[in-house]
């Protein structure tokens, strides 16, 4: 599945690059017509060809993104489900698309009933003014989209030259947090922080004129008490030090939350956190 997705992603990168600047840029300044985005039409054709898509109805998911980003390298994105995960109705998967990024398909989040809520908060890089989209697929196979236009662009906000040695020393260090008391059978908010440069391979060091090779987190699996609660296929649009806030349902008296992270160099990192639901 991962391989299939990766090759599709590569195809998209090249497809997007082949689009001429004129068409792609003509609609950049305006957030008026999300359907006119040529990158989106291309992504849609690739991922959801021929399928109906409920657009911005707001009864399945909502998307929060700043209209103007404080920092283009770390733009917070929040996708919220409008209902809890129940056998009769739940969200199976959510695609996060950033139309005008070099690789538009930024993340694919897969949820289970043990997720409790199919919410996610993460942080992304945004290269140009762009539409951001979250597309949820519910268990009945319907697609539901929420769209936001974000004004963000790289500029003078680049931090002082990153210390590559320091980043290497902490590579793969992780922390899991559970917010508040975990009550059994009710969704609990958790957070996963990963120390990782998430290099895109597209950034030139101005001082050395060298490109830093791509090295980014590509897959995260989180389980609670051995049950999968979240899988994420990720791309280099995710900001450095990837950070996910998500829900899970503690089902046992006590259990272990476990995160397994694999990056594009096939390095594997693991972190666990014991939790004990309050009675």
């Amino acid at each position: 599945m991962i391989e299939a997705w990766m090759s599709r992603r590569s195809a998209l990168v090249w497809g997007a690059a082949a689009l001429t600047g004129g068409a792609a840029r003509a609609q950049l300044k305006s957030g008026d017509d999300p359907e006119a985005s040529p990158r989106w039409q291309q992504v849609r054709g690739s991922l959801f060809k021929g399928r109906a898509l409920r657009d911005n109805v707001g009864d399945v998911i909502t998307l929060e993104a700043p209209a103007r980003a404080e920092d283009a390298a770390i733009v917070p994105i929040v996708i919220r489900a409008r209902f809890e995960q129940r056998p009769e109705r739940y969200i199976k998967q959510v695609h996060l698309i950033i139309d005008n990024n070099p690789s538009p398909i930024s993340a694919i989040f897969t949820y289970t009933l043990d997720s409790g809520r199919a919410d996610i908060e993460t942080r992304v890089r945004i290269d140009e003014y762009t539409f951001v989209r979250a597309i949820a697929e519910t268990n009945d196979g319907q697609l539901h989209m929420a769209t936001r236009f974000v004004k963000a662009a790289g500029g003078c906000s680049a931090p002082p030259g990153k210390d590559a040695a320091a980043a290497q020393a902490t590579l793969g260090q992780m922390r899991l947090r559970v917010q508040g008391d975990a009550a059994p059978r009710a969704p609990v908010l958790a957070q996963l922080m990963i120390s990782h440069p998430n290099d895109s391979g597209l950034v030139m060091d101005q001082a050395t004129r060298q490109y830093t090779p791509p090295h980014f987190v590509r897959r995260i699996d989180v389980s609670a008490g051995g049950r999968l609660v979240l899988s994420a296929d990720l791309d280099f649009s995710i900001s450095e030090n990837p950070n996910l806030r998500f829900y899970f349902v503690p089902r046992d008296d006590a259990g272990t939350l476990e995160a397994v992270v694999v990056d594009s160099n096939e390095l594997r990192f693991q972190q666990t956190l014991a939790y004990r639901p309050s009675p």
Binding site: E121, G161, Q173, Q206, A207, N243
Partner: protein, 325 residues
């Protein structure tokens, strides 16, 4: 530009001095937008110590990006320029201000810190053969990112305002606090470690007690914490306060006194405390800018922009500290 346009422009940049507004009113018929920036006057704060005030606000065509302060100190044998402005044209305007006051030669241009509005006028000083001096760490920071800053400025201000402006490397770098005597006047360059930014320095004129605070201090403007280390910055402000200060030229805003140091220290600690509280309460990064309101500073320049970014930056730093606890 119409009179209404001039007034709106003045309100937009909040900190514009009354003198500049008056100059605009007089200069309306001549086209204020192009002449206002060139006409920023040199104010003598103490004998031989001059400030040229920037407009405040953010870089935009109406202010030609000349938002930061600069100044110069006239000694017996020459002049030391402090910060060089935003562009080649701005640098030339600053040199013209110096020439109106004295015919002594400009010996040196000292750049206090690496923000575009203090750096890129260096092209004009370079053209005159005036050596450009900055801290070694500031020079590294400039090399690592200022090419992007310059592209950004060209995009925002236009190629006319930025004509002749180029990247450069300084002629002289230094690492420690030292006294410059080349103007025939003792001018102390003070480096207090990585505070508001790597290689940020303040400049103290011993004879008059005037301090050019550079990136370390803004007056009634939200300081940008992007390059700063908050704890070290607060220490540095406390150490500047120990100097026999009479007047202070901040990086942005009007000439001021130690009260501005205290106000900025309150802002920096208030920001740190607020973001730590939010993080501990479980707020996400998405909530940080809205939840970070600090009403005591809401009237400061750039509260709606830099403060919101500061909130996110400090939140992320504190969160990262959690990761390694």
């Amino acid at each position: 530009m119409t009179a209404g346009g001039a007034a709106r422009s003045a309100r937009r940049t909040r900190g514009v001095g009354r003198a500049l507004v008056a100059a605009c009113t007089v200069a309306l018929a001549l086209g204020c937008a192009s002449s206002a920036a060139d006409d920023a006057a040199a104010t003598e704060l103490a004998p031989g110590v001059f400030m040229v005030r920037g407009s405040g606000g953010t870089a935009e065509p109406a202010n030609a990006g000349r938002i930061g302060n600069s100044g110069f100190i006239v000694g017996d044998s020459g002049v030391i320029a402090i910060d060089t402005g935003t562009s080649y044209r701005h640098g030339r305007a600053l040199l013209a201000r110096i020439a109106q006051v004295t015919d002594k030669p400009v010996r040196l241009a000292l750049i206090t810190h690496v923000q575009p509005e203090f750096v890129f006028g260096g092209s004009a000083f370079r053209e005159r053969g005036i050596p450009i001096r900055m801290h070694a760490n500031a020079a590294s920071l400039m090399a690592s990112r200022c090419e992007s800053c310059l592209k950004n400025l060209n995009r925002v201000l236009g190629s006319d305002a930025m004509a002749g402006t180029t990247m450069f490397v300084p002629d002289q770098v230094f690492e420690q606090t030292h006294t410059l005597a080349r103007s025939g006047r003792a001018v102390r360059v003070i480096y207090l470690g990585h505070s508001s930014g790597p290689g940020d320095v303040a400049v103290f004129d011993e004879a008059s007690g005037v301090l050019f605070a550079g990136g370390l201090l803004d007056e009634r403007r939200i300081p940008d914490v992007q390059d700063g280390d908050l704890a070290a910055w607060l220490d540095a402000l406390a150490r500047l306060r120990e100097l026999p200060l009479r007047r202070i030229v901040p990086g942005h805003g009007g000439a001021t006194t130690v009260a501005a140091i205290d106000a900025q220290a309150r802002y920096l600690s208030g920001l740190q405390t607020r973001m730590a509280d939010l993080l501990n309460a479980g707020a996400g990064l998405s909530e940080a800018p809205d939840a970070a309101n600090l009403p005591d500073f809401a009237a400061w320049d750039q509260y709606d922009t830099i403060h919101r970014r500061n909130a996110s930056i400090v939140y992320i730093r504190l969160e990262r500290e959690l990761l390694f606890k």
